[in-house]
Symmetry: C2
Subunit: 382 residues, 2 copies
């Protein structure tokens, strides 16, 4: 089991710089949320702290989410939305409901490390599909469908974690058509779809899906704040009904106070202003990091600049491994997410690392990349 | 699947009285919690809204819980405590980790409805053990262990849901010894152990357990407020390690803000004062409800007065079923939890209903029981 994402090996450094985490905590609407909680407690009284109903979530929040999705071109009826404890719970509920030990799940390789960790703990058989600059190599999917009869395809089409790749429009249509033809549920994890800095918005798989085979997952963790633990999924039919019942026995309901406060804070206008501000800020930081990489790192590192999201995926120079690099980087006061934790076969990731460009201010980004450059210059190549 | 506990059939009544719910929302420390959140956001800044670490929970809160448990005679090292999204998540994590479809779970019959619902959704084989005034009839357990080889025993030893029965000291020792001899994990759900109004405190199974076979579950939902969604479990060894990893892939972590705010609010002295106040209030309401039952209901209803907790378990007069009673009660503006939802074989519960005596003020309790009396007088016996 890989160590948790937040693990710091830089404890002895006076001024560590961690290219981990998600968004910039200084940008979280902390005060607005606290005011929303006060308003909710005044408005609703103690009922804001009761269980609420054990169904698919606080109705006004589901209405608000439906409006947010509509503003992104995704039509979802509020009754098709289940509020979850972040997108991780949505992922876990879907997998535990649809899959049993030994079942096959198709995933991008590399992919989100805590999805891999979940699949392993559920004793699923994980089959990886390579990723390039246009996202999952969908052309490789059909033979895998025929060979492995997967029970689920898990994909992060927008600004994929960890590669940052965005699935092209053509591949989106092909993938949905394949899921439909082979009758396989498609789990679309849209963890940062809002954070686009350039290029054209691609349609959500959910909107391309004629047969209701796509389960869509969203979250407020990356845009607003991780500590809320509020996410949601969109699905239809018997699977949705079973997911609602399964959520109920798993933890009854998401904190009613959090649901109400979030609903009181979020509306489409406010959310879009927040997204726009974040996009401006994070785009600039992406530029800063890309420029620093060009200036400070050896010319044989490789990065495909992502069009959005939070992460840069860096291929190390030939012969340099994360294993060799990480202790030296920690000692030099710079932290990153090592490649192995994102791969079906961890050893395949030794030549990669993931850098979060959104969390830190430009000066810290430049200093951190400088440190990484010094370490890379000194590490021995095998 | 039974309807959620909060479902109201009294929608058309001008002044419905619902003997459902848990504690009295008017007693929740709403303002104190909000102040705690403000303090935490000022003290910790945005980091109160980050993910935190994906381990077993916020360290200071685990320390506080260990102190609370110690004040109740339960020794638990903070590193043996996992913070969960209420006790329901603790229950779900344990079952999903230890059991697979077809496995046998031994439970009190009747028992907590959402535990039964969980077991059914996980496709477990549920074997019930009858309950009397001293709790689970432990004498019946050994043959069931030999016959069914259960993978888990689930018990609510204090003020059992729904019967209110408290497991006697002798039976506690027998049960722990049996679990030890037959090497079966014992899941102790202590959802309202604090709320004792008379009689002697019994030792937690966890404290009687030499072999580390007991997993203890507690919650702040019943005492402080349900909407927090913060509970915890105590366990040791490899099972604990696996539970922590499983919690992480299920939903990463409980809201860091909630964990910090709860820790800022709760200390042993304050918690005990809150418990004492609640005990005074709820004991009085129990008396009110018992007196109203004696005065207003037919003499052939039966109740074993519970020594604590939230619920009275009422056996209806012979020939009267919940099915016949409930629509009439709803029309008369009184709501209860029908017996069938608490039984392994729901039909066995037709002659019972569960009344919450803690939620409502004395006048409402008296009026509600009066309504129930009128309905019972008019319902036809089969």
């Amino acid at each position: 089991v890989p160590p948790p994402a937040g693990t710091k090996g830089t404890a002895n450094h006076p001024n560590p710089i961690a290219f981990t985490g998600v968004g910039d905590p200084r940008e979280y609407p902390t005060k607005a949320l606290l005011h929303a909680m006060q308003d909710v407690l005044q408005r609703d009284g103690p009922s804001a702290l009761e269980y609420g109903t054990f169904d698919n979530g606080y109705v006004p929040l589901r209405n608000t989410i439906a409006q947010l999705l509509a503003s992104q071109g995704i039509t979802a009826h509020p009754d098709a939305i289940l509020i979850t404890a972040g997108s991780q719970q949505a992922l876990a509920l879907v997998c535990q409901l649809l899959l049993k030990p030994g079942d096959v799940v198709l995933v991008e390789n590399p992919t989100y490390n805590l999805a891999l960790e979940l699949f392993r703990l559920l004793e699923l058989q994980i089959v990886g599909i390579p990723v390039d600059a246009e996202g999952m190599q969908v052309a490789q999917v059909e033979p895998l469908l025929q060979q492995h009869h997967p029970k689920l395809i898990y994909t992060i089409p927008n600004f994929q974690n960890p590669t940052g790749a965005c699935l092209s429009g053509g591949r989106r249509r092909q993938l949905v058509a394949l899921a439909d033809r082979y009758n396989v549920p498609l789990l679309e994890d849209d963890f940062v779809g809002d954070l686009r800095y350039d290029g054209r918005t691609q349609p959500a798989l959910k909107t391309l899906d004629p047969g209701g085979r796509v389960i869509y997952i969203g979250t407020f963790s990356k845009m607003l704040m991780p500590g809320l633990r509020v996410g949601f999924l969109v699905a239809e039919g018997p699977i949705f009904t079973r997911l609602v019942a399964f959520k109920r026995v798993n933890d009854l309901t998401v904190s009613t106070l959090m649901q109400r406060a979030l609903d009181a804070y979020v509306n489409v206008g406010q959310y879009q202003r927040h997204v726009q501000r974040s996009c401006r800020l994070y785009r600039q930081r992406r530029e800063t990091m890309l420029a620093a990489i060009r200036q400070q790192l050896p010319p044989d590192v490789h990065v495909d600049p992502p069009q959005g999201g939070l992460f840069l995926w860096l291929r190390l120079p030939p012969g340099i491994t994360c294993r060799a690099l990480q202790p030296l980087a920690s000692a030099a006061g710079v932290e990153f997410a090592p490649g192995p934790r994102f791969f079906v076969q961890p050893a395949e990731g030794e030549g990669y690392l993931r850098l979060n460009f959104a969390t830190l201010r430009p000066e810290a980004i430049e200093e951190g990349i400088k440190r990484l450059g010094r370490v890379l210059a000194g590490v021995s190549r095998v």
